[in-house]
């Protein structure tokens, strides 16, 4: 069974550009989470989807970040316009729900120059 997959694995963009990160959760997992680790700091929660609905988006840093999960399958996280401080590793995770284990993807390393 495929795990959580994230695309791209690396992205280098210029300040002011737009980048879209994609996450494909494990098939059948209704819960999908985005996290990020920036500037060597701790890993911070961004938001949580249950199917296509946003259950908790308290960790989204500002309105330059937009997450979607149309159809309740894969999710995208768009950063527009990107700023230097957005550089870091963005992780996606999925779980079945009901307090089961969350499985993490390999992350997308975003570099804004």
């Amino acid at each position: 069974e495929a795990g959580v997959t994230q695309f791209p694995s690396h992205s280098v963009i210029e300040k002011g550009q737009t980048v879209t990160l994609r996450c494909d959760p494990i098939s059948g997992h209704d819960n999908l989470y985005w996290y990020r680790r920036v500037m060597g700091k701790e890993i911070k929660f961004l938001l949580h989807f249950v199917k296509e609905s946003k259950q908790d988006e308290s960790g989204m840093p500002n309105n330059r970040f937009l997450a979607e999960r149309t159809g309740g399958t894969y999710s995208t996280l768009k950063v527009q316009p990107a700023e230097l401080e957005d550089s870091g590793v963005y992780f996606c995770a999925s779980s079945l729900g009901g307090h089961t284990e969350a499985f993490f993807g390999q992350g997308t390393r975003l570099t804004v120059v």
């Binding site: 819960n31 929660f45 249950v50 908790d56 307090h99």
Partner: protein, 115 residues
């Protein structure tokens, strides 16, 4: 409130030494899970262990061992006979029944194993 504390920001050891990474957690939930993840320089998160709150048995996996003590809210991780490949950032994490599986990470401990 849920919180994970890893008091050691950076640790350096010489190869073959044993090293213990400390983790203290806070939660009012009675049902929760504790995790350790490794983030090597390549950036991905590598799952190491998951423990539920009802299982206080210590666990050993090769050179890795974990000591879970509810009385002190600690979940410490020991690497025996450390190797250079163990160099990474290690994160302790917590998820609780009321947090809908959201994982709360500690700040991480950066381990450097010197040859």
């Amino acid at each position: 409130a849920q919180k994970v504390t890893q008091a050691q920001t950076e640790i350096s050891v010489v190869e073959k030494e044993d090293v213990t990474l400390d983790c203290v957690y806070e939660t009012r939930d009675t049902t929760y899970y504790l995790f350790w993840y490794k983030q090597p320089p390549s950036g991905e998160l590598v799952f190491l262990i998951r423990r539920n709150s009802f299982d206080e048995q210590n666990e050993i996996s090769g050179r890795y061992s974990w000591n879970f003590q509810k009385s002190t809210s600690s979940f410490n991780f020991t690497i025996t006979a450390s190797q250079v490949v163990d160099s990474a950032v290690y994160f302790c994490a917590l998820s609780t029944e009321t947090s809908y599986d959201k994982v709360i990470f500690g700040p991480g401990t950066s381990l450097s194993v010197i040859p």
